[in-house]
Symmetry: C2
Amino acid sequence: MSYSPKRIAILGSTGSVGRQALEIIAADESLSVVGLSAGANWKLLAEQAKTFDADAVAIADPEAAKELISILSEGTDLLTGPESMNDLIWQVEPDMVLTAVVGSAGLGPTLTAIKCGADLAIANKESLVMAGAIIMPAARKAGINVLPVDSEHSAIFQCLIGHEHKDVHRVTLTASGGPFRNKTLDQVEHASLDDVLKHPTWKMGRKISVDSATMMNKALEIIETHHLFDLPTHRIEVVIHPESIVHACVEFFDGSVLAQLSRPAMTTPIAIALSYPQRPAHPSAPLLDLAETGALHFEEADTQRYPALELGYEVVRRGGTAGAILNAANETAVEAFMSGRIEFGQIVGIVEKVLTETPIKTEIDLETILATDNEVRQRTEEIVIGN
Amino acid sequence: MSYSPKRIAILGSTGSVGRQALEIIAADESLSVVGLSAGANWKLLAEQAKTFDADAVAIADPEAAKELISILSEGTDLLTGPESMNDLIWQVEPDMVLTAVVGSAGLGPTLTAIKCGADLAIANKESLVMAGAIIMPAARKAGINVLPVDSEHSAIFQCLIGHEHKDVHRVTLTASGGPFRNKTLDQVEHASLDDVLKHPTWKMGRKISVDSATMMNKALEIIETHHLFDLPTHRIEVVIHPESIVHACVEFFDGSVLAQLSRPAMTTPIAIALSYPQRPAHPSAPLLDLAETGALHFEEADTQRYPALELGYEVVRRGGTAGAILNAANETAVEAFMSGRIEFGQIVGIVEKVLTETPIKTEIDLETILATDNEVRQRTEEIVIGN
C-alpha cells in the first residue's frame, strides 16, 4: 500500500518534546516534517530543518533569524517576528500541528492551526488552561482532532477510545508527588531550585519541574481534563502514584476501570498523538515489564496538603478568565522563584492571592484572555516586588 | 426513548455466575430473562422462573423435572433430558445466551446458540478450551458477538474495544497465585481440599478453586485467550498479581499498555457481557478506590514452578484435540482429588501424562471433540485407579 505521509509542523522543535517528536518522525515513514519553529536556538533549528527537509522554519528572535538565514538550506523558507508561528502554519498548511512551545505563546498558533483545519497535538498545556473554552468548541466546529500529548491526558484519551462519554463515572489523574512527596509545603518553604529539579521519575524542563513540586502542574491538568474531555470537577480525581507508571484511569458506571500504563517517558504519548489513529511500533518507546516493576503504589492526594490542587478545581468551577488568571500568576511566580526573588513556599500563596483578588470575566474571547494574561502578570509582579 | 429489553437465556442459572447475572438483570430494565436452565436444583429454578417470568425452563435431571412441574408457574414451559438446554434455546430464541454451566456439558448448547443467531456471553470456559477452533469461526460466520465473562478475558475484551488486533504486541493475564502462592507444588503435594478452597481473593466454585491452586485455571485461560482474541502463544503472558485488581493488560506496539481493573467480584464482567455494547450503572458493582487499595504487586509466573502453565502453551501450539484432552484429563483428575482418590500434588502430573500419551487429531468437529473427551476421561480414570 502506498500513501502520503502525514505532514506535521512542530512549534517548539528545539525543546524536549520537539526533539523527541523528531526522533519518532525520523523512524516512521508515515510521518513527515513540513514546518519547524524555535524561540532562539537557530543552530539546532537549522540542523533539524536540513535533516527533515522542512518547507519552512519560524524563529521569533530577529537577531537569531539573522544568524539562521546564513546557514539555512535552500528550499527552506524563513519566517521571523512575533507572528512567525502563525505565518508558518498558514504557509505550510500541515495535516497536524504539534504545539510544543512553553507558556501562553502557544495560544495564538493553536487557534491558527484550528482555523487552518490542521489536527492538533497539544503539548502546550497553558493554551488549554487559559482558553480551553475557546479552543475546544472551535476544534469541534472545525471537525479537527485534538490529541493530548501530556502523559496523563494521553492516558485518558486512550482509555476513552471506543467508549462513550456518558458512561464515564470519573477519571483519575495520577501525580508522582514530585520531589517533596513526603514533606508538607511548610517543610519545603525554603527549598532551592536544585532541590526542586531533582524529580524522582520524570526528566522535564525547569518550569514544569517547579509546577510538579508545588503540585500546580496537577492543578493545570485538572483544568485541561475538564476542557479536553468535557468533565465537571466531581468527575476528576487525583491520586498520588510515586512510580509514574499508571498515567490515568477512567472508571465507568458499571464499576470497570481502564488504566493506561507505560514507563515514565514522553516517547509513548508523543508517538500516539502523532500517529493517531494508527499505533505503529516505535523502536524508541520503552516496554513495560510489570513483574520487574514489582509494585505500584497509590495514596490519597490531600487538597489540604497540596493547596494548589484546590486552585485547579476552583478554576474549573468559576470558568471564564479564571484559567488565564491562574496560569499567568503561576508563570510569573515560578519565574520569580527561579530568579531567586521569592521562596519556593511562596509560589502557591501568591497564585492563590491573585486568583482570589482578580475579578473573573465570564464572557471570553482571545482578546480578553490575552488582556487578562497581561494584567495578571503585572499584578503578580507587583506582589512579588512588594514581598 | 422506548425500546425492547434484551432477551436473555441463562444456562446454569442456579450456580454462582447464574445467580449474580439474575441480580444484575433484576436491577436493569434493558435486560430480561426468557429462558433458564439448571442441572438439578429445581426449587431455586422454579423460584427464578417465577420472579423473572421466564417463557421456559430446562432441567437435565428427569427426577428433578417431576418435582419442578408441580410448582412451576403456568405460562412457563418445562423441558427436560440431556438435550433440554439445546431445546430451550430453539424454543425461546433469545438475543443472548449466557453459558454459565460448568464443564464440557456447555459445548453443545454453545454451538446451538450460534446456530440460533444469539450473542454469546461465555462463562463456560471448557467449551472454548475444548472447541474454540470450532466456536470462534462459527460465531464469526454467523455474525454474532462473543462476550467473555471470565474476568481476565472480559478485561482483554474491554482493553481492545476501539483498538485494532494488528496493533497488539502482547496480552498479560494476571493470576492471583492462589492459596499456595509462596509454596511450590512439592510443598503442597499433600494439601487438603479445605486448604485448596481457601482462596485469598476470589470466592468461587470448588472445581475452579482447585484449578486456581494448581494454576491449571490459568492454563485454560491461556487457551481461551488464544481462541477468543486470535493470538499466538508468544503474545500471551501470565504475571502473578496477588491482589486480583488488575485482571489483564494489553500492550500495543507503540509501548502503551491498557489495563482493566476492578475489585475482585464477578459482578462487573457479568454485567459488561450482558449489557454490551451499553455500559449502564450497576448498583451491585463495587467501586475501586486505588488510594485505599494502596499497592498492586506483580511477580513473574515461573513455568518451572507452575508446570500447569506450560501445558496451556503446549495445547495452543499443538491445536486440534489437544484442548479437549487437557480439559477432560483435568476435570477427571480434579474430581479424583475432590473425592479423595489422589493427592493434590498428583493432579498436574496426571494431566501432563495424559496429554503426552494421547495422540492428537488435527482435524476436528463436534463429534471428534466429544469422542476425545469421552476416551480421555476413561484413560485418566484408569491412571487414577492404577495409581
